[in-house]
Symmetry: C2
Subunit: 339 residues, 2 copies
Amino acid sequence: MAQKLTLKQIAKDLNVSISTVSKALRDSYEISEETRSKIKDYAKSKNYKPNSIALSLKNQKTKKIGIVIPEIVHHFFATVISGAERVANENGYQVIITVSDESFDKEVVNMEMLANGSIDGFIMSLSKETMDKHDLHHLREVTNQGMPIVMFDRVTNDIACDKIIIDDVAAAHSATDFLMRKGRKNLGLITTVDYVSVGRLRTQGFKQALTERGYECENHQVLKIENADACENEIEKFVVGNNFDGILAVNELFAVTASKALQKHGRSIPDDIAIVAFTDGMLSKYASPTLTTIGQKGEEMGGIAAAKLIERLEKKESDSESYETVIVKTSLIERESTP
Amino acid sequence: MAQKLTLKQIAKDLNVSISTVSKALRDSYEISEETRSKIKDYAKSKNYKPNSIALSLKNQKTKKIGIVIPEIVHHFFATVISGAERVANENGYQVIITVSDESFDKEVVNMEMLANGSIDGFIMSLSKETMDKHDLHHLREVTNQGMPIVMFDRVTNDIACDKIIIDDVAAAHSATDFLMRKGRKNLGLITTVDYVSVGRLRTQGFKQALTERGYECENHQVLKIENADACENEIEKFVVGNNFDGILAVNELFAVTASKALQKHGRSIPDDIAIVAFTDGMLSKYASPTLTTIGQKGEEMGGIAAAKLIERLEKKESDSESYETVIVKTSLIERESTP
DNA sequence: TTGTAAGCGTTATCAG
DNA sequence: CTGATAACGCTTACAA
């Protein structure tokens, strides 16, 4: 069990000073060709790798990015991580993941742990509880220290930072429009409670599309789900008890649940009732019938978030205190659940 | 943008020495009640948090665990991360995630990066390519340095480390048995190529169960999928072209694909043909019909892996060079795809 | 009770 | 061309 090789050890083994070793390995012109290659050969043969912790301390940067998400066992967030990880790696960064479990307290604790020098910046999506309480002191503390944050999906305008979102209003609007163009007139929306920003915005887009076409959007056409784990009965009652010919759902889970409930009651999809869902994940592709979805481009959002963050980390600080909001285009992926 | 607070800064602000501050904050008996509370109050008011990088360097331990997995957008691996992250956090550790994308080279690079002091130990599942080439030098290098590895799911016996697996042979055996007890006589297996350890072992369990009951397992009863991204046609041909009344699939994706192909050809599930799949994920719960599965307990495996690793990290080194293999019990979750 | 100094592994500055 | 020294932030003998 060979001890980890350090500059000191190499210096001792080769009877030179530590700084000579350091310089030789970094190809300094100050070191003679001879010693340089002697040292480099030795280092290579022993597979020397500089200690990244020491470098972090010295350089005051860790080359690590903290990702804070509400959940990891969730297709959308997993794709975001995937995209962020890829771009981070391409730029010599690594990602540290923490999960808030939709809890404000866990979000605070996780961010405090990471902010103590472990990382250079954050990529995050707010927990439900944080959005509900709207307590953002932990985020302010981080930005006040000069540590940049890039938010995605569930964001807030009350923190100075870059944001990566999809245009939820427009996407919901165009999906609703799509259903109406297919001749559907009685539309139902299955969404989340309003404090979840994406749910609220999608609801807004849905309603806008309806009123623009002169439909009134009665309250009973919108179902707001508080707890996704126990939504089955609610959704069944909603879709079966109303005379819809089209459904828009803000995520796959709500959509599949609705689809199954409808089929159980003998309704045919898409003939009797069409379904469009947000989030293009596994369920949509493999449900029966397959679901028409609005792709959320998680991979892309994650990649952009990482790129933005790294860009900010690497440019001379102090300049450009202007933050940007990137809106990632969504696209409708038509499958069997719409005619 | 307040600069990050350090001991040095506190010492200067309060006109004491750095070590006095350090000791006071750690409640050393050496420091007088008065200075101690003065320092602690000040630190608290300014929200001082020790720099974790400096601590890592000093203590030669990072309190970080590296997780190396083949894929992250994959329900099973996501659950493993979730379990590992939870247990790690409970013990004051954080997790750094890297993804090999099933590539040997990426696995090597990722592990080398992390092994340079960034983490205290690894939790990992081998990439397909690594299993295929069976080149394990990067793993040996890590263990030779005295850095522990805990492997899960896709493991090898050629590295001295703890392992967390399910009993794939037994699970496949009992699932096959289950189908036979339901009166099914013509069974098909959809599995992966043999170098993926779990695929090989599950195939073995399947065959064992058949021969024990006196069936011969002809080759055409086993379909080995090389590339999961393009398996649709292969699976369709296999399940439709043979006269099966039962199918065992080594993952959900193969199972759902088979299910849809069969339904397309007018076969009824489970009446004409029953299906059992490994991995209890989203697809199984929401497919039509819902799938009977063998739960793989990813969350539990991740938790055990983290616990084992942390246990090894925190016990006096040198002792106990004996490694353990934990076999996590699986359970059959019966749903609509079996009678 | 407080402070000084060495050390963790690096790099950078400056002296020899 | 090579080496000693300080610094990054923290802990801990040891000195005062």
